[in-house]
Amino acid sequence: MTQIIPTIRWKDLGTPARVSEREVTLEIDGMSVTVAEGSSVLRAAAEAGISIPKLCATDSLEAFGSCRLCVVEIEGRKGYPASCTTPVLEGMVVNTQSNKLADLRRGVMELYISDHPLDCLTCSANGNCELQDMAGVVGLREVRYGYDGENHLKAEKDTSNPYFTFDPAKCIVCSRCVRACEETQGTFALTIDGRGFASMVSASQNESFMDSECVSCGACVQACPTATLMEKSVIEKGQAEHAVVTTCAYCGVGCSFRAEMKGNEVVRMVPNKDGHANHGHSCVKGRFAFGYATHKDRITKPMIRHSIRDAWQEVSWEQAIGHAASEFKRIQAQHGRDSVGGITSSRCTNEETYLVQKLVRAAFGNNNVDTCARVCHSPTGYGLKATLGESSGTQTFDSVMKADVIVVIGANPTDGHPVFASSMKRRLRQGAKLIVVDPRSIDLVRSAHVQADHHLKLRPGTNVAVVNAMAHTIVTEGLANDAFVAERCDIKAFAKWKAFIAEARNSPETLEAITGVPAAEMRAAARLYATGGNAAIYYGLGVTEHSQGSTMVIGIANLAMLTGNIGREGVGVNPLRGQNNVQGACDMGSFPHELPGYRHVSDAATRELFGKTWGVTIDSEPGLRIPNMLDAALDGSFRGIYIQGEDIAQSDPDTQHVTAALEAMECVVVQDLFLNETAKFAHVFLPGSSFLEKSGTFTNAERRISPVRKVMPALGGKEDWEVTVMLSEALGYPMAYKHPSEIMDEIARLTPTFKGVSFDKLDRLGSIQWPCNDEAPEGTSTMHVGEFVRGKGLFVITEYVPTAERTSRKYPLILTTGRILSQYNVGAQTRRTENSLWHSEDRVEIHPSDAELRGIKDGDWAGIRSRAGETVLRALITERVQPGVVYTTFHFPESGANVITTDNSDWATNCPEFKVTAVQVEPVTQPSEWQKRFHDFSNQQLGLLEHREPAKA
């Protein structure tokens, strides 16, 4: 399965591919070459295997024509045109080599090298430098100008970015970095400053990279043909000797990367040009923040303890597993079969989550299994299944390039899903219209060459009112796609829904008082969505993490069906998944009511199928969801839990409730990389393995299954799936897998949407979007083409029900939460990397008027109090938030963002209402009581870890 790629070079075809139905045939060096119309001569030659020397051209960027190295002769044309900027023409005759061309190219290289250090042997790019290659190719033997003239060799190096350096002495001003920042990333942080000889690359207004607008995505480093922009890890370790293609373990975009290796050590992660989700692009997390995998905080030996006040004791794997299994068996014997359960991880592989739910269902014998999607996208599963028939997004990421209207609701793609945001921004620069529905001014509302046509700055908690007002406008103004509805949807349900939505109480004018969105703006946005061509909705946790999360997902699906914006490219309903494998964890049967493939446990045929294969009887009753497990722990009916790769003590709402529940349990088994917040309440700690240490698959937000390949041995000696196999066996239910590919084979046998998936096919195709079956053997890019998965699309009535969480005199502000580019979720990984240089603490954003009213200045300590609890953060005064709304991130445990959040939850799925908490904010001088207790407890637990007893020999 691990495919080792010996070379570290990509084939670079010089200019981007062109898609055209028309082909052009020309002659290059006497060879007949046929390429797509619009291709450059440089690319046509490269496709035919003819390399024309080049420096400023690369196939990830549009041609620029500045280096003059790729000059060619074309019959019937005067001079020596640059082949990168010359499009092919039918019958063109091109000559790429002649004495004259050789002279010209040598002359160009001579000028470049006259102002370039001659330190090739000690240069970090040695062996992987395009300038060096071209010097060799053109046969440069001397530099007649000498090296004493004016030059840039003493230009100062910028080492401010923690991951890469900028050495202007080595810069050839080819503009590849500048163009990558614009075209690939869309940040426009880099420019060429000055003219002529004084030209140089500048970050923002001649600032250091770290102080500039640079988001450290690495696109410039990737594009640089020399050592000017170079990873510090390569400077330190040298060039890699082999590479392995794998999949990023951060967000739901699921970027494909090449792990460039020296033996078992990662030298750098390079975005895979052939990656189907990212096409060679990356962000600061996936590209650079992998150092956590070898961080000193990793725990690599299993540990046990009898009480959470005891010091940990290191033990063998057998002892740890044996102890956990005997505890689970004891608890079940004393308190019943349903008194234990498990949590699967959205950060682990499909194969691993599948095994954990199998262990719960087959070895524990109940359905008490849940996953962190409970607290993020469970409403997506419910809402899309109810309306469209499948619990997943409908498109590919690439589909955005065909959208004319892009609607972003409750998502912050530039921070949460940065690589996809770059595609989205590219499409917006091409002219697509943008509607943002968000209480806060996210970057997309206004950034470089992007401006939202409509920003519906709603009050938090009023999503459903907004979606109803939009639908009302479309229905009552006659903008609906009646033909689509008539052909594709359940007409009876539609008639009922239509009568509901057309009522005056759903009009933008009536709802304005609730949403805070001016009716005219709302109507204009609705008209644009309905009539602006292909319209695609992208949404995130700002939709789902509400008491009406599922209602809002349904409302979004209603809107898409109403306007016929579903079932083809460029449209659709697109949930942006938070974690790398949220989609996969849900697909794999991690919910307590569903077996793999979203089949309810009450369905006898499905139970029979799994029961027969697994050799057990599957319980027909739904099990407990995470919040229910916690409640049941406090009433004594739930006493043991196996948690793989999750940190509910930080990520789940109402922290004090969560920790009380964990404390009430008799056996908490945590399998993780680090002693996370939950592990501080554990009795058994099983060392987890990072994505670099195991094989398997992740499924991203576009249903794309991508291979995860082991590049280094597991630090704890076992991949996560092996640990589950051991635990299951100790529980009396042996599982006979020798490799994760066998687990996937079982999944494929039991799950219709995965029927055609195998590791072999993934190796062959690179990735596969499910459904993958006999009808679609290579997967399915767009869902619901021609017919909805459930048959007829179902309109469901979405009454706006205000959340129970209300502001009052005591709690006059609404707190909402989100994330930031450099940190990831609970931060367990990114906080252990240099990413913390961008974001070293969570701050509370507050509007200047609210701050002034309270006497809070920027950087002051601010106490945030809700009905659930209190915490203290430093204030960040900004107009990004509207008056009456405050905002924070939750990446640092000591921030206690979830100490404040309440136990309100989505009516259908119990997904917590993270996005709406009534609070008061006041200036304070010291940490909250909770923070003091947290600090003491945390220190005590770290002490118990530090003083752990080593394993007896």
Binding site: G336, D338, H600, S602, S637, T798, S905, W907
Partner: protein
């Protein structure tokens, strides 16, 4: 299970289906949702709560809980 929490959950579900114009359909939907998503101990607790007066349950939630089939006794 803390009964106030279960009552709130039942009422939240009922709130969604309150919009259903056909009352019988609404009752059926709420009961079906609870049956599909609540583990047996939660269903038993809410049924017992209704039997004890059902304090705090909305009218629709009350009707739905009354329509629930009590879960079979669970083996250990």
């Amino acid at each position: 299970m803390e009964i106030e929490r279960l009552v709130k959950m039942a009422n939240d579900i009922a709130n969604f289906f309150e919009a259903e114009p056909d009352h019988a359909e609404g009752v059926k939907s709420v009961a079906a949702h609870i049956t599909r998503f609540w583990d047996p101990r939660m269903r038993s607790a809410i049924i017992a709560h209704l039997a004890a007066g059902g304090e705090g349950l909305s009218a629709l939630a009350r009707a739905a809980v009354a329509a629930l089939v009590p879960p079979a006794r669970r083996a250990a």
